[in-house]
Symmetry: C2
Subunit: 531 residues, 2 copies
């Protein structure tokens, strides 16, 4: 992965001239003066951990698995939000860990947590490093040092129970590898977020990820049948049954805990039969409201497609629904007026209700509610470009534009208010940025809203975005939405989360943390609001 951007550098693309023109003429984007920093030139804080402590860490994980080299430290600095990338592009590595430790087992994780508790070493659990909310930049003050606990060596599929449709994984397995391992059994998780190429299963669980096929396969937290959590106070082993009335569901306390309570060392995940058939189609609706109403009907009465996504008028016009097509001059189908909806169906002949029956029933609902069928082309274009946006971001950043995303969710009746409030906040904070939105996750009672913002970088683009982000977050809280539907809390959402949760909710989280992590070493400053 590119240390200062996203993904395989070989996949980076120059922006086509029409897009450059649009950025220049419509938004006033100008190429930055200074070239981006090189990896070698990134400024890191002096490594704080003394030799004896490094030796003690090596005594647990092995000398080869305690790493302090410049490149390793750079590659474990922060995550992949736009401010994270902007900071790296100017060589700011101030949040780098002192060392990176790669444990090889649950027992090694548990032992490392005990050692770090005794020695007051802050521990950042590190999966794919794809956090976009500051989940990997802990508060260093008061600690002897900071280590990134990289779970890359915990990379095995432990078992498959094809009768219960449960697979047990270690947390460091990256999503594509998980799919490859499951495909050998004819199975899939069906979890395809935009971070798919790099993110790990443990990270999905810790941050409550949600994928592009969540309508059909559910959110990642829905897939977690059981888990093992190593904490400084001992091990929690949760999930003896699919569901239970035996007290509060403590799995749901670990999911979304972003490493502040412990380190997930095992996940028992619900799997599905890998689909043999897929069909993705486009529909045009006259307005975002009309398209939303159609999505709501599918969510409330069914049948729900496997993929369901609706772009607002601006996103439809710009064509970000199919980023690979940007600059191609648009297509008659999806680049026109109105709003583009993508509906995708997956299935296997002979298993469950046939794909074609589900497709026909859903199409009848979409058509009844004003949808105009556009055929398979827009669906295929969306599928080809579904992981392209982060690559596109790199090119836009280099061209002098800030591009960033933010997201929320709310109940259906509240969505129009939430949509307006966030758009207005962003427009107010940034002058005249491009603000696009789509709905990509639906529930019976509500849905998510996912915003993409493009604006010219000013002299301090990090501060510029932080102002816009603060305005959008305040608008979300004020309009009754949740501060994040699937990105997580990290440090970036912590204050807004505090408003959403209230002081008593925050006190509950602190009480749980006090029990599981009494020395407070785990990801300090992340998630839990307050002092």
């Amino acid at each position: 992965m590119l240390w200062s951007g996203w993904g395989d550098p070989a996949q980076a693309r120059e922006l086509p001239e029409p897009i450059r023109g649009l950025l220049r003429d419509l938004l006033g984007v100008r190429a930055p003066d200074a070239p981006a920093a090189t990896l070698e030139s990134v400024r890191l804080p002096p490594a704080a951990l003394p030799g004896p402590l490094l030796a003690a860490l090596a005594g647990i994980a092995g000398a080869a698995n305690v790493r302090t080299g410049h490149e390793t430290r750079v590659r474990h600095t922060r995550g992949k939000s736009t401010p994270d990338l902007l900071r790296m592009r100017v060589g700011d590595g101030s949040d780098a860990p002192d060392a990176v430790v790669l444990p090889g087992s649950h027992e090694e994780v548990a032992e490392l947590l005990r050692l770090c508790s005794e020695e007051r070493i802050a521990v950042v659990p590190f999966g794919g490093g794809t956090s976009v909310v500051g989940g990997l930049a802990p508060a260093r003050a008061g600690f002897t040092g900071v280590i990134a606990l990289d779970l890359a060596r915990l990379d095995r599929l432990r078992s498959v129970d094809a009768e219960s449709m449960v697979a047990e994984f270690e947390p460091g397995v990256r999503a594509p590898e998980a799919e490859r391992l499951l495909a050998a059994h004819g199975l899939t998780l069906g979890h395809f977020p935009q971070s798919f190429e790099y993110a790990t299963l443990g990270g999905f669980a810790a941050a409550r990820s949600s994928g592009q096929a969540s309508a059909g396969y559910g959110r990642f937290d829905d897939m977690v049948a059981g888990l093992t959590l190593a904490t400084p106070s001992g091990t929690l082993e949760l999930g003896r049954a699919p569901r239970s009335a035996a007290g509060p569901d403590l799995r749901q306390l670990v999911l979304g805990s972003e490493g502040v309570f412990g380190v997930i060392t095992s996940l028992r995940l619900r799997v599905r039969r890998a689909p043999a058939e897929r069909r993705y189609e486009g529909w045009r609706f006259a307005s975002f409201a009309a398209g939303s109403a159609a999505m709501r009907a599918l969510a409330q009465e069914g049948p729900l497609p496997s993929v369901l996504r609706l772009s607002d008028e601006t996103e439809t016009m710009i064509g970000l629904a199919k980023p690979e097509a940007i600059g191609s001059g648009g297509s008659g189908g999806s680049g026109g007026s109105g709003c583009l909806l993508i509906a995708g169906y997956e299935g296997t002949p002979g298993a469950g209700v046939p794909l074609e029956e589900r497709r026909r029933a859903a199409a009848a609902v979409l058509a009844r509610l004003g949808g105009e069928p556009l055929g398979e082309e827009p669906g295929l274009a969306w599928e080809r470009g579904r992981f392209a946006a982060p690559y596109l971001r790199d090119s836009l950043l280099a061209a002098g534009a800030t591009v960033e995303t933010l997201e929320t969710a709310g109940f259906w009746a509240n969505l129009p208010r939430l949509y307006d409030a966030v758009r207005l906040a962003l427009l107010g904070a940034l002058g005249s940025p491009l603000v696009m939105c789509h709905v990509s996750h639906v529930y019976e009672t509500g849905a998510s809203l996912y915003f993409t913002v493009v604006t010219p970088q000013d002299a301090d683009p990090v501060a510029q975005w932080e102002r816009a982000k603060a305005a959008a977050s305040a608008a979300i809280v004020e309009a009754g939405g949740t501060i994040t539907h699937h990105h997580g809390v990290g440090r970036d959402h912590r204050d807004a989360y505090g408003l959403e949760l209230g002081p008593l909710g925050a006190a509950v989280l602190r009480a749980v943390k006090g029990e599981l992590d009494p020395a407070g070493i785990l990801n300090p400053g992340v998630l839990i609001p307050g002092p």
Copy 2:
């Protein structure tokens, strides 16, 4: 409701002679020597709360809403488990509260909790009083007294949001009243547990209830979009969106908390369109294993009926699948050999996939996996008798038989082991009881098992059942199941829950309780394992 039994005394039925014969000849049941106690003769502990404290309670809730009369105290003593009823039948009211307080608002609940914290008065939140796991019998030691906090006056439907399909209720609304209120809007919760006639919405949430139509409508905890919890430390307001990545889901910490963290004063519940059509059918499978495999196929690949239930060979033979038919000599359809499966479909023409299409697709799966269709008669018989079992229990208790139920859940691959272990434990503990079982709640990864036991009462039937229950609970834990799928923990399951949860999980619950209920007044001795 009958103070020493279940439901409307007018619905009580004498056991038909064939059943009496079966009990007498097959099980050796003999009618008890002594007649059951009368309400007036129940022995209660002296009321412990001094006048000034009663006056302080009345100062908050109103004098008419602080009650100390004999009948009121009796009617708020314990719940409706078989040991609860056996104790009441011999006049043992030793767990009675000193007073019953009926608050009229969230604010009154909050004020009562503050007063009771200061004065060390234990508080038992009381909804329908239908707990079957000792959830209403707190540990009295160390407290000035005990009040039952009866939520009957919090009985309003506050609002309906038909766009988001969310209805806000107060917690004291009984299930039939909730359905009546929603029916005026063409809506339903679809939650029909056996306790339906008396249980309240707050109780469903606090104990993670699951209804007979859970396959179609989900568990009650799935319906909770938001809630308000009054605690001695303040108020928690949870649920700004259907789902969120904003940290741990604290709703899931309150659900199943059985009143030990606070009192639920408001519930925002997902509702569905009330179905205009219903069709319930019976199927015969050669064995429990064959029927389970068919249920598993429907749960994993769909389409899932709204009601799905499979009786094992013994339950099918006895005909408890349709208790109203007991003693009728059986019916050609369902009383024969093999295992009876009930599949019920509900829907509304024009909304979603038509009932008939779903029924046909499910029937194809059932037939392919060995099911023999029995038509509608067994389905209708099940529907007529779906709430009859607790009435039947009263008659059996009076006739000298102990009848009780217990339940668990596990992953599909583990169900046969769990089934065998529980049966063997019950047979070992009780000699030769009648042990019946059904599966009534299915998930992609597993299912519940619900056992009904009938055995002749010995001289101390409470102790006799407690031995059997302890053996069954140990078997469940040992075989890897959860100690309860939908009854809850209460006091009866607390020790087994401790084994399931582990000491660190119990410590987490104590930490949360310490934050929300520092004086420890809420339902002491219930739920949380340990000292």
